[in-house]
């Protein structure tokens, strides 16, 4: 028993050590159309030059309910079924940044912490004492501070940038899991149905078993 308590105490202590390391800012994700559309807007301006979203096509954006005019501005003369590939070729990317910028289609699901990670990363830029740009969440990042977070000292401006980052994350979360809303909606029906069915099975079970003496 003593050994058991000892192990449990050790487990708890190491768990706390792990929790202290993470410095992600937890966000409540907005999944409504306006937030996602604002996020798409911000992303097309700030991120899309270098980052692709190869699993998302312009048609997906229209189907989701985004403003058709806006979508046609983004795609120019490309067909509606074109994927959101970046304009930066891999060779140029490697020349300028040393790596190919990751595809963003699944980024909101591909990091520990999900959307909160991406948000914390975007707002995590700061100026180091040496005058360089650093990032709290991902110090090795090669991405420049596109939103200008590190230079923003005014609280109002910072709040604006944070709202923008939040919108971008909303869009990325939708892009990573476009059927989420449909899934939740169907889920309520399925579980509601199962609750009724199970309750009925319980009644029938009791009724059948009551035949036994």
């Amino acid at each position: 028993m003593k050994k058991l308590i000892f192990i449990l105490v050790l487990c708890c202590s190491s768990f706390h050590a792990g929790a202290a390391e993470s410095k992600l800012e937890q966000i409540q994700l907005e999944t409504d159309l306006p937030a996602v559309e604002r996020g798409a807007d911000a992303l097309m301006n700030a991120c899309h030059t270098c980052h692709s979203l190869k699993y998302i096509t312009y048609r997906d954006l229209v189907k989701f309910g985004m403003d058709k005019k806006k979508v046609s501005d983004w795609r120019g003369d490309q067909p509606l079924d074109t994927a959101l590939t970046s304009q930066l070729s891999d060779e140029t990317a490697i020349q300028s940044y040393g790596i190919v910028p990751p595809d963003l289609s699944l980024i909101a699901k591909a990091r520990e912490g999900g959307p909160s990670y991406v948000y914390s990363y975007l707002i995590g830029y700061y100026i180091t004492p040496e005058g360089m740009t650093g990032n709290h969440v991902f110090p090795e990042t090669r991405m420049p501070d596109m939103m200008g977070m590190s230079g923003a000292t005014d609280p109002v401006q910072r709040a604006e940038l944070q709202a923008k980052a939040r919108d971008i994350v909303s869009f990325l979360a939708w892009a990573a899991d476009p059927h989420e809303e449909e899934r939740h909606k169907l889920g309520y029906y399925v579980i509601g149905y199962l609750l009724v069915l199970t309750a009925m099975l319980f009644v029938v079970k009791n009724q059948i078993w009551s035949r036994l003496k």
Binding site: L4, C11, I191, L197, L212
Partner: protein
């Protein structure tokens, strides 16, 4: 009309006698608790996995350049493809959860004891097949964790004496995990479930020979056995309803909680993830593997940690009925074992530190110590229990069942005859 058709069939195939023998007159102990529902649930999940898997295979492409994209195609473009895939990925976890509970029930109530050793051993074989199937299926999405998990596990076969390196290459079909590995894992992932179905049939034939065990651990007299149908069909369906509610909460609301985030990054042989973890159901065994500093020792310990369950019918020397229910020492061991499994699972999950490696070693020693000490503890416990007298309810139960059996010898079940 109906009876004529059935008569026609019966002359050519033992349909009615099968229904009678295995359903409407199949004797089942009436005192089974809900822990006896999990065998049926395992069968259900098996069917669910095969059904969703076949439809997924219609859209999946086993090719390193296409597989990651084809999964995204299923998730985004195929009608209800996301549902199929989340049912299948959640189903894998559900399968292990159900099987582990099924095994825990067997261990708790001592159902592995005579005459049910073959049930326990066929079950052990099914567990190994299930583990192999799950492991191979996990490579198919071709994400980072798929790739590195398969690399780490196939690499363990280096421990094979004399030609370890050749065995690894033979398994992978290449020097590293690659296209050849993916295509063979896909083929085997499709094949093994059908072997599992065959194994389940053997498991069931054995079950219907020895009949179900029950919480009392005593072979019940005829009056305490009731027909499987309708009593246990309805009980199983009610249990299925509860199971499906839990399952659907995960499928519809938390499907990603069971997936490693790193598996949403396409496999990259040039970049090792900082922390490679297997799926939750392999974590305790993975912790045992890591707790032994030497490769061969680790692999042997891991293999043994799964296979050691087979020895239970011989390790448990006690003849006291009812498993842990009437055996206080064994009960303590059972719960400590469950706690030990959870500790090992946690140790397997976190990145290794000096502290966690130390805990892992203690938990590993404790894991095997329980099996090694069981013969002595169970024998001593039996002597102690006989000295102090069995609990009065067991005594009365044994007496009443014996009386019942003497009164009605013609109603004995096959399994009762000693």
């Amino acid at each position: 009309m109906k009876s004529r058709v059935i008569k026609w069939i019966d002359q050519r195939f033992p349909f009615s006698s099968f229904v009678k023998h295995d359903l409407t007159e199949y004797p089942t102990p009436r005192n089974l608790s809900y822990w006896w529902n999990f065998g049926f649930l395992a069968g259900f999940v098996l069917v669910l996995q095969v059904a969703t898997g076949i439809f997924l295979a219609m859209h999946y492409k086993a090719d390193v350049t296409l597989s990651f994209d084809s999964i995204q195609h299923i998730m985004r473009d195929v009608n209800f493809g996301w549902l199929l895939r989340y049912m299948h990925s959640t189903g894998a976890s559900a399968f292990f959860l159900v099987i582990y509970i099924h095994m825990a029930r067997t261990l708790y109530y001592g159902s592995y004891r005579a005459p049910r050793e073959l049930m326990w051993w066929t079950g052990q074989g099914l567990l190994l097949l299930l583990m192999a199937t799950a492991f191979m299926g996990y490579l198919l999405p071709w994400g980072q964790m798929s790739f590195w998990g398969a690399t780490v596990i196939t690499n363990l076969f280096r421990a094979t004496p004399f030609f370890g390196d050749q065995v690894v290459v033979w398994l992978r079909g290449d020097f590293g995990v690659g296209d050849a590995t993916l295509t063979r894992f896909f083929a085997l992932h499709y094949l093994l479930p059908f072997l599992i179905i065959g194994g389940v049939l053997v498991h069931l034939v054995a079950l219907h020979t020895v009949k179900s065990s029950n919480p009392s651990g005593i072979d019940l007299a005829a009056k305490d056995n009731i027909p499987f149908h309708p009593y246990f069909t309805i009980k199983d369906f009610y249990g299925l309803g509860i199971f499906l509610i839990v399952y659907c909460i995960f499928v519809f609301f938390l499907p990603n909680s069971l997936m490693e985030p790193a598996n949403n990054i396409p496999a990259n042989p040039m970049q090792t993830p900082t922390h490679i973890v297997p799926e939750w159901y392999f974590l305790p065994f993975y912790a045992i593997l890591r707790s032994v500093p030497n490769l061969v020792g680790g692999v042997v310990a891991m293999g043994l940690s799964v296979m050691v369950f087979s020895f239970m019918p011989y390790l448990d020397r006690s003849r006291i009925p009812g498993g842990a229910h009437y055996r206080p020492w064994y009960r303590v061991m059972f719960y400590l074992f469950v706690v030990d499994m959870l500790v090992l699972g946690y140790v397997g999950y976190i990145p290794p530190t000096d502290q966690s490696i130390m805990i892992g070693k203690i938990a590993t020693i404790f894991y095997f110590a329980q099996f090694v000490l069981l013969p002595f503890i169970s024998r001593k416990e039996e002597q102690w229990l006989i000295r102090c007298g069995l609990p009065p309810e067991v005594e009365t139960l044994i007496a009443s069942e014996a009386k019942e059996k003497n009164k009605l010898p013609h109603q004995r079940r096959i399994g009762d005859i000693k």
